[in-house]
């Protein structure tokens, strides 16, 4: 690697566009949002203005975010995301494991099959789920053949969790695949030779050694779940509101931008908290690197 002083002209030419694009169209907007989160709507002639703001008036928006109504929604977003992440982990682990131990010629195809849905538009996948779960949908049609239903499967927490698992599953499979693939199989053989059962070997050898992949997968799924807006909006409706929906409402229908900005920042802090946890785990875990 060259030192940047060796060729300053090339260095600045390469770095400037990217740096300033992000500065101007990412950092500055976030700065605007940060200021807005400490602001209030201006009161002009005794009326709350729609477009004017009193900037940097205090932390009232953050205090409001901790009212019971919003605390409930935040708590719900966390447990819905956590549950979705757990279901992802429990289904993705056998998939990743199975792909790693599949015959070599099948591996690329199986991996492609896992990743392919990820490339299909999120909106379209969610729409496809609506057709499956709605009252006149396929699941109820199939249940009807055996004399059950119809049930209302949309617009509740189940639909949201199913949708999140459906949409973010590839994010869990890939890091798990990466670690299990690099797992030294002689450890498993040794464990089985020494008399451990398959189940014991899995719990005491395989899981600890693949812990970095598990943690990365959890983070990769949990973060987008927590910030999701489309899935709860289309599958959850009014019954399963998450943080993302609250933010969207403040910026669109409710037109309370300062409050929306404050919640956005709370969501970002939660995201950074999750990333920091991951870094902490990565430092102390001993398994195979991702």
């Amino acid at each position: 690697m060259d030192d940047w002083k060796g060729n300053r002209r090339v260095f600045w030419t390469l770095g400037t566009p990217g740096f300033f694009w992000l500065l101007l169209f990412f950092v500055v907007p976030l700065g605007f949002l940060f200021v807005m989160s400490f602001s209030d709507k201006a009161v002009v002639d005794g009326q709350v203005s729609i477009t004017d703001y009193d900037y940097l008036t205090g932390v009232s928006n953050y205090i409001r975010a901790f009212e019971p109504l919003y605390l409930t929604i935040m708590w719900k977003s966390i447990w819905v995301s956590a549950l979705a992440t757990l279901v992802c982990l429990l289904t993705a682990y056998p998939i990743a494991f199975g792909i790693c131990f599949a015959p070599a010629k099948w591996k690329p195809l199986l991996l492609l099959l896992v990743i392919l849905p990820f490339w299909i538009n999120l909106l379209i996948r969610t729409y496809a789920l609506i057709a499956v779960f709605r009252t006149q949908g396929y699941v109820n049609l199939a249940l009807g053949w055996v004399g059950l239903g119809p049930y209302d499967m949309l617009y509740n927490n189940f639909a949201v969790i199913f949708g999140l698992v459906y949409v973010y599953m590839p994010f869990m499979v890939l890091p798990l695949y990466a670690t299990i693939e690099r797992l030294d199989r002689s450890f498993l053989e040794a464990s089985l030779d020494l008399g451990a059962s398959q189940f014991q070997t899995f719990l005491k050898v395989t899981v600890p050694l693949t812990m970095p992949g598990i943690i990365t997968g959890i983070i990769l799924v949990f973060i987008p779940c927590l910030g999701s807006f489309l899935t709860p909006d289309l599958l959850g409706g009014a019954n399963a509101v998450m943080i993302g929906n609250v933010i969207e409402r403040q910026f669109k229908a409710a037109n309370d931008w300062p409050f929306g900005a404050a919640i956005s920042f709370l969501l970002m802090y939660a995201t950074f908290g999750a990333l920091a946890l991951r870094a902490l785990f990565a430092r102390f875990s001993k398994g195979v690197g991702v």
């Binding site: 169209f25 605007f32 459906y166 920042f265």
Partner: protein, 281 residues
């Protein structure tokens, strides 16, 4: 002992376990069934949707003659094309920078470049909405002639696409043998000639893969576009969203199928180019 084991029945041959295979089939069924039925029913004659009544292209014809849908699709494609070109150039430059130079605060710079990848989309969306309104850019582009009225959306898309391009191109550059560069310079080529005739051809598979990734990301983006598009401009996902909110219809299936085919073709090309054994020579 070994003679008693059938092939594939060893303790580590998990790939041949029946329960694992059954689980695989079950999960892939759940993953693909909704998408396959969505595509299949785009050819259905039935209006309301779930019973198969007969094969037809009517839904495609209807989608094609729906002016607002076509307008949204053209907008999406134009945005994706322009944003891809800009994001690919910027992203490639950042990748070369990070690969070639060491400089103070490099770690911080790398973290900075990764921010748009990790931050929740909705936060980036509302931040850009606020920025475009407060800076006057939202109103400034409304009166402009097409496609310049899409400028804000393009700017936003470049901002979240180019860090991904940088990641892809940089992973390609790791395999570059710097002696090639030295040989080129020894033989009298200038910095620019070396860049154009040695480095660029080597990076090309990475650049194309990065560009296709940017293209699909841009084409698929709903959340950020939803917030940064003004009242006048509609992209394809935003249009589909407003249709979906009104209910299920075979016309949406047809339009979705077209988008699925476009993205899958782009992705398969990108993956072919990235496969190391095919592009490593």
């Amino acid at each position: 002992m070994a003679g008693q084991l059938k092939p594939g029945a060893g303790p580590l041959d998990y790939g041949n376990r029946t329960w694992l295979r059954a689980l695989f089939i079950g999960i892939f069924f759940i993953l693909y069934m909704p998408i396959i039925t969505l595509i299949a029913f785009s050819f259905n004659t039935d209006k309301r949707g779930i019973v198969w009544r007969g094969f037809t292209f009517d839904n495609y014809v209807k989608a094609m003659t729906n002016d607002s849908l076509i307008e949204a699709l053209v907008n999406s494609l134009v945005i994706a094309l322009i944003a891809t070109v800009i994001a690919t150039i910027i992203g490639t430059m950042v990748a070369i920078l990070l690969w070639r130079f060491k400089f103070p605060f490099k770690g911080a710079f790398e973290g900075f470049m990764a921010l748009p990848i990790v931050i929740p989309e909705i936060c980036m969306g509302v931040a850009l909405l606020l920025f475009f309104i407060e800076s006057g850019m939202m109103n400034a582009v409304v009166g402009l002639v097409w496609p310049f009225n899409l400028a804000n959306i393009i700017i936003a898309h470049v901002a979240f696409c180019f860090p991904f391009v940088a990641v892809v191109v940089r992973s390609r550059l790791v395999g570059f043998n710097r002696q090639l560069e030295e040989a080129s310079k020894d033989l009298g080529a200038s910095e620019w000639q070396t860049f154009r005739n040695v480095l660029i051809p080597f990076m090309m598979p990475g650049i194309i893969a990065g560009a296709l990734l940017a293209f699909t990301l841009s084409l698929d983006d709903f959340v950020i576009t939803f917030f940064t598009s003004g009242p006048e401009t509609v992209t394809f996902p935003v249009k589909v969203y407003s249709l979906v909110r009104r209910g299920v219809s075979p016309e949406i299936n047809a339009a979705s199928t077209v988008l699925i085919v476009v993205t899958i073709v782009a992705t398969v090309i990108a993956m072919k180019l990235q496969a190391p054994e095919k592009s490593g020579h």
